[in-house]
């Protein structure tokens, strides 16, 4: 037998087969990640029939898989965290998880902490704060107090001679919607920091979980609509994470992948993105 010729035929055969397989994989991957036009149109129609308006362009056409993530509460221990924020080894303890030192006070409620100071602090950092360098100054403040300052999103407003900065975290590029810090400051210094903060647990690896498509999320949203007669308009759809419950303290927790739907009146609704079956 002419093995050389047989090998040539086999090589050509396998090249063709492998190209077909590769093409199938690429095509199917793109198809499963994509939301078809027909499904989009049908979803918008169903929403409209339930008096929910949404522009088709707002609905993402590509399915993005985000993993399940475990995070640690930055407040691992009330006493230790208070020492860090008040920058003092000796603290006075008041009622209801309140700590005092150096004319500063910190109070804890479940996952939340509220730090306030009578005299403004960190004036060295905030001396020349203005509308253009807020994000940079925010990062410096966070760094000083030991928070993760790298993966953040900063929004702010100026009222009563103070900046009120809202800092939200991102994990794997997605926001944690119901966890944030609010920093009140001015050129004179820092007045308060309050909110909740979590950091990714590096010992626990991300778990891939099957998520619902965005069209399924929108259908689920219909059930959340309390008044069937009102017409409501969806202004934005965003995928991210949720802590889900802030009424109790969590030392560590798994963040839930969710979609946040923002309505015209500014209200937001979070829909669990996990497939339960």
């Amino acid at each position: 037998m002419n093995w050389s010729r047989a090998k040539t035929i086999l090589i050509i055969f396998f090249i063709v087969i492998n190209m077909i397989l590769l093409g199938t994989i690429i095509h199917t991957t793109n198809k499963s990640d994509a939301v078809s036009t027909e499904v989009l149109d049908a979803t918008v129609e169903i929403l409209n029939s339930n008096k929910i308006l949404i522009k088709k362009e707002l609905i993402p056409t590509k399915h993005v898989q985000i993993p399940y993530v475990e995070v640690n509460n930055i407040v691992g221990d009330y006493n230790e965290f208070a020492k860090k924020m008040l920058m003092s080894e000796t603290l006075q303890k008041g009622e209801q998880n309140t700590y005092y030192a150096n004319e500063q006070i910190i109070t804890f409620t479940a996952d939340n902490f509220q730090f306030t100071t009578k005299t403004p602090l960190n004036s060295d950092i905030l001396l020349n704060i203005n509308d253009t360098n807020i994000e940079e100054k925010t990062k410096l403040i966070l760094k000083r107090y030991g928070f993760n300052y790298k993966d953040i999103k900063v929004n702010w407003l100026y009222a009563e001679n103070k900046y009120i900065i809202t800092v939200m975290q991102t994990i794997n590029g997605s926001l944690i919607f119901d966890s944030s810090l609010k920093i009140e400051c001015s050129k004179d210094g820092l007045y308060s920091i309050y909110g909740t903060w979590f950091e990714k647990n590096t010992k626990y690896s991300n778990v891939d979980v099957k998520l619902k498509s965005v069209t399924s999320i929108l259908i689920d949203f219909i059930a959340k609509k309390t008044n069937t007669e009102d017409i409501i308009q969806i202004m934005s759809l965003e995928q991210g994470y949720s802590v889900y419950e802030n009424e109790t303290y969590h030392k560590t927790l798994m963040l839930i992948p969710v979609w946040q739907i923002t309505l015209e009146d500014g209200t937001t609704h979070m829909i669990d993105a996990r497939q339960t079956t």
Partner: protein, 474 residues
Amino acid sequence: MKKERIKNIALLSLIILNVLLCSRILIDKKLWPHGYNFFVDRENSFMGQVIDNIFQGQKNLSESKVQLISPQRIMLNTGYQSTRLSLDSSDEKYYEINDMVQNILKQAMSEPSKSVTSVSKEDWYTVLTGKSIYLSYTTEFDSKLFAKFLSSKDSEITNMITSVSNVVISSAAGNTLVYIQNGHEDVYYKISLSNASTEIDSVINYFQTQMDKKGDSGLNIINYAFDLSFDTLFGGQKTILNPMIPIYSNPQSFATINAENPILRLDNTLNHSVIDKILKCFNINANTVRRYTEADGTMVFVENNATLKMSLSGVLEYTAKDGANGLKLSDSSNAYDNITNVANFIDNINQIATTERKLCVSSSLLNQEIKPTTLQITFDYVVNGMPVILSTPKTNHAVTVIAENGYLKKYVQKLRSYHMTNEYVEIPEYINALDSAIAAKTSDTSEIADMYTAYFDDGQVGSKTANWKVDVKE
């Protein structure tokens, strides 16, 4: 030659690439056509079913070690003065004798009601002083349930004898006789079995011979409370004992045991892989359940219908939410199925968590047949043949189960593993322990409902010793 070599390498590379691409398509669910599942298809095929049955069969071979019907203690009454031999599940011969008595009891509970006669307390005492076998249980049974556990045939006998707490088996005039105390009252019944059994006498004779050979007869002087009239008040005596309490005249010593939390690792963190397997037992998906850790390190898993908690001290707690059904344990509405399913469920968890597998029922099983849909039952660990008395802030039993209509409402278990040591500790003498228990009570008269040896576990890790457990009737 060089050209051939290149061809060989190219062909080999293409074959490997082909295998990788094919396996990617088989494994990656996203790439399957809608409704197709390669693994479910293989599983449901004929060969898949055959292989599955083989492994399923092997899984069933490991029998549950939760003792539902085995007596806590088997007392062999030799009939010779007060020489008796007490056996528990730590003794080699216990299981052989237990099998024998279970067969006899199975037959007894299947007998027609004409085989049953009422007997007096004196007859009961007489048979205990002769050659007989006394079975002491950890709990009181509903007689119908007792019969079901023994796999007895349905019989009217369970309408006459409504509950079972103590049993004595003897033989006389070629008949096997089973005496049952109805509850804890002075009501006794005798069931005559149609088939004669010579096993009872031969077993007792065998042990008597063994004891004589070793010269142990003197060491096995055990009286019942009624033998010494401790069950009646006379003279200045202010305390009476349950007549069936055995009184040991010789000092006893028992090995200490080491208690451990089987799911705590050396670095004082919980073993996550074991917890994930436990979650599976409760039908909780470890990947999608909402989980968080409380300040004290307790892991909490929240599902739609229930919450499961696992503390660092090894307390597993499952609670169905109000209005929700919880985990389905049984399709049946009868008490026997419910209790058996609970026992199997507990044993499954014990195997996964490498917890102590031997448990005994510690709550009453009366009235279960009347209210079969509501089940409230507790179990205690059994180590070295003795129950372990737990005393912790969260629970005083190894396992506590509440179920309704076949659904689990609450499950609390203190996960423990116990290891015997070579260290032996002598427990206080019987009479001293009794005096201490009586002195602790302030009432003028006391009734000791039960007195037995047990291990005492305060919930902390470490060495535990045995001692007397005295139950005083309130």
